[in-house]
Symmetry: C3
Subunit: 449 residues, 3 copies
């Protein structure tokens, strides 16, 4: 798929998913998974209401059919059919008439964003309510209001889906995103869209060292349920991972470090930034704010999982309200995310420990066509720039060979070359092709085994 | 005992102890222990003269009955009965008449503090001598002087005392101070007074995790003799320790780190200072200067023992001379020391590793009444400050739960919360009461045992 | 040998070695070893042409008898007999007449140093050529030139030599230098000269803790061949090592750290510089630039070997050309190198872990004549400077005794004394003589064994 077609396809998928009323359970969630499964093979799971998942219990499934709030003059102030954000997500049913004073506790708006309809949820406490622009709320007059929500909480299930793309080894890269947010763009259709198209790119790689696990869950309860089912094998196999969220918007990539801050993607990311190979920002790991990395990084699992965003939740006006639209985010930004993440994961494929097969004394480079055969300060047939370039390349090759001792990672070797991984990778490939080095190995200490 | 009564009691004890002529052995030492034993239960030990204690030998006991120096005109220049500092501590007996020139080598004074009588000792080399104000010494005229010291060195014993306050575990906190200094206030009646009243406070705690060992010894030889008897069990059991000295005076607490600088009290202390919870200063560990921490931290024992002072030895005019009086020090400062040390030890009781009992995925906080049940940017019933406070508290709780993994100490968890131990302790207590976390444990790595 | 005689002897040896046409094999190499063997016992080795040494093969031996280049007017532009640098080192034979255009590819000169004859080698690719000053090259006119080189590549051998000076233990210090460079002074007669005279100094030490291995090899292929024969035992025994190169010139010593940067000589060197005991500069380890330390530090061996220079290769005009003369370097600088290296190795003899034999409580210093026997602020018989000196010495002694715990190296103990190794060594010796401490031990953790 070329880049133009990819962009069109992303745009089309966005438009199909945007209107759906999603929640942590229910029909909208299933419909979303079904549409995504047209783009990649997805295995779908359902956990029944009431099932225990660690400290949590799968909640009742939410059925929402209609809802509106009528002013004393009969005008509809909120209407599920025109915007699902206007009904409190997970609202209990209601059909009643009440005064403005009685209504107040059931209304939600944002004083500092008077035009925006807020996104409000109440999953674990029974409530009903309506969300509306603050400017409209300010106009409300005394009188009799009519509230109507046709919803139900039934014994049903919580759904999620995954796709496992096999590689040469069982070591896995986790890509996880969430599909419980209703009609908002950056947070959160950006994550599922990027994940789906990233899947398609990685599926086309000529070889994959790692297995790639793509996970689509409702946030928090979904990743907890997923870990309850798959956590043991993930703890065994996960080499690296990313939670994808808020990947639209004009900002550069913004990476939240994994819990230890010392996993392969943490090192690769930081080196790319330090060496100016990628524009980006870095956030520390925080267990209290964020998305599903908080579950993957809970102390019992402690997976090497970070989180990638651009326009970060909580830091933009449209966060969790109706201003979070496709236009504010752009599909182009999503495609840029796909590209940058693909590049990051390509580099991660090469991370690990390398082993020089001739570790005793220097390798005789000219035998392998890797060394100038004359030792002269000036050779008229070469320009001074050529001499510099040759010297720099020779420096990289000799430095790689010295530190390909089974004790230094690719990132560390690149640092010792005063280069980025990206810059030394062609040399690594060349040395591998010539049979001079082996790797990457996941474990340290292979040289003398 | 309320604070006013405590202060009066400290003042009274000070006045009883101050006049006694103490040394590293002898009657004054025993009398001091006897008086202290009215304030706390004390077990008294005596090591006989000539007994070997590691590289040292218990010296002969010093008996001092009287002593004076008479000028040619018969005036008493020094007189044991008016001030015991005027006789060289551990002086041999003498009864002789001699010229001023012959006398010079037996006189001690401080040129830059002409009014002060210095405190001079000669425990391990036989000498006699007198200490006097330099201004008086400058007035001495030629003529016949008469020196008289009625002392004896007998086969006796070296005494020390301790009190062990049992706790829930055998792990011990050592509080050690010294009782060999004669009539001086800051250095050193402050240590024994603070120790005695600190004992009484800790004895009233509703529970003690640790056992508390209070030790009163003559300095150096006393702590070496004590270690000779109890060192093996102390090496086994000591969790933390403090040598108390120079705890009067207007300065804030001044902590000398333990030998490794990485023991629990070192960490707690430094965090309290960094987080502004306590005013204080920190000194590095030095094996060459100081008090009995030099013995506890000798390489064969290497106990986790620091030293706490205020107005540090050597750094004030009254150091080791007659200017070191109650007025220059104040009983109020001693009481402040008691309070601050009690607080420090309370925090130390909570130091250690904590374990989250639901480490897989996040704890379902609302089940435990620890989470706001609605996820809304603005809730009219809450002020914006309340929202901030709730968010901050939630942040602390979630951060504690993530790092209660058996791998992080309380001090480390507090740092990860960007708070002090003191600030997070109420949350730790709450989570323990609700059965969500366990701890503190002394050993790392409990989560998956 | 006194210093004046040593200097004369160095000067004489220099003059004997300078004119010889050395290469990585051949008669000049053997002659050089023979002359050196008059100054120290040398065992000589020969590796036959064609023998494999790790990734390398011993090349054919180069025989060079004569060579010259004649201008169209019959004038000699280059002449082996007047300067061996004028013939490309390892040149194939040639006897031909050719035009200036045909000659160009066989000429080497340095445009920015028009008076200098460059030193050019082509060991592993068959070539012939002449080296000449660029100013002369610029004058060459069209016409017929005559090139004549009477050389041969024969099945012969590659030679190297070593001398092992036994010490109390099998632990070895390696001193390696190279003898393949023809008529140049700083790079490289300085290394062999310094090595030979350093040998003679160390041979006179009253005792040697370590065995000293002095190695003279042709660069790169020689050290690889040497490692092929002795590498296994060197890997077992080497405690420290230095490659000596470029040790003439006015600059201070310039040390290239060993591969880990954390070997004993690295620590000693850095402390001497930090404490101002030695003037010098430090370079990081680089596997791509330098001399035989690149072989000793190849990943399969990873010996604790650094490199010592003054006027570093590549950083002075005379590098690898005829400007590198005795006058530009000076024999005095070589002698200074001998002295400074001897001092460094003396300190290295004392490096290691020390053990206090009375580790429980303080040592009773007065018993051993190491402590003032009176504790008095002012003693009229001592000046205030004496008091300060005594206090400083006591501080050093007590600090040594505390950290002589089998866990701290001498360098670390010196740091804890806020002193240099050199400054605390007299105290270490005194404490050893009195039987109070033991050491140095190479291994950590001896205290409680």
């Amino acid at each position: 798929m070329d880049k133009v077609k990819e962009l069109e396809a992303m745009d089309k998928l966005f438009d199909r998913l945007f209107p759906i009323c999603r929640s942590i359970t229910g029909e909208g969630l299933r419909e979303t998974i079904e549409i995504l499964s047209e783009y990649m093979p997805l295995e779908v799971f359902g956990e029944p209401t009431g099932k225990q998942a660690f400290d949590w219990e799968i909640p009742k499934e939410w059925v929402i059919r209609d809802g509106w709030l009528k002013a004393p003059d009969g005008r509809k102030l909120a209407d599920f059919k025109s915007s699902n954000l206007q009904i409190l997500n997970y609202s209990t049913p209601v059909q009643t008439k009440l005064s403005l004073a009685e209504l107040e506790g059931h209304l939600f708006s944002i004083p500092h964003l008077p035009e925006a309809v807020p996104y409000v949820t109440s999953y674990y406490k029974e409530r009903w309510g309506f969300c509306l622009p603050h400017c409209e709320r300010e106009q409300l007059v005394e009188g009799e209001y009519e509230a109507y929500i046709d919803s139900e909480h039934i014994d049903g299930e919580l759904n999620y889906a995954h796709s496992v793309l096999p590689g040469e080894t069982d070591r896995e890269v986790l890509i996880s995103t969430y599909i419980c947010h209703p009609s908002m763009a950056n947070n959160e259709l950006s994550g599922p869209l990027v994940a789906a198209f990233l899947y398609n790119r990685i599926a086309k790689w000529s070889k994959r060292r790692y297995t790639y696990r793509f996970v689509f869950v409702p946030e928090t309860i979904g990743s907890i349920a997923y870990l309850h089912r798959f956590g043991t094998e993930m703890k065994q196999n996960t080499q690296a991972g990313l939670v994808l969220t808020c990947l639209g918007g004009p900002e550069p990539l913004n990476y939240k470090l994994s819990r230890s801050g010392a996993n392969p993607l943490d090192h690769i990311w930081q080196q790319l930034l330090e060496r100016g190979e990628l524009e980006g920002k870095t956030r520390p790991f925080t267990p209290a704010f964020g998305s599903d990395e908080r579950q993957y990084c809970s102390p019992g699992f402690n997976l090497p999982v970070g989180q990638m965003a651009r326009t970060v939740y909580g830091l933009y006006d449209g966060y969790h309200n109706s201003l979070d639209t496709k236009e504010a985010m752009t599909i182009e930004a999503l495609q840029r995310s796909v590209e940058e993440l693909e590049r990051l994961l390509e580099l991660n494929e090469a991370e690990g420990y390398y082993v020089n097969r001739s570790p005793y004394g220097e390798v005789k480079l000219d035998k392998h066509g890797l060394y100038p055969d004359i030792n002269s300060p000036i050779n008229r047939s070469q320009s001074s720039n050529e001499v510099m370039d040759n010297r720099r390349q020779l420096n990289i090759i000799l430095t790689i060979l010295n530190y390909a001792d089974g004790e230094h990672t690719l990132t560390e070797i690149a640092e010792l070359c005063r280069s980025s991984i990206a810059a030394i990778l062609p040399f690594i490939e060349q040395l591998k092709e010539k049979g001079i080095i082996e790797g990457p190995y996941a474990e340290k200490g292979r040289l003398f085994k």
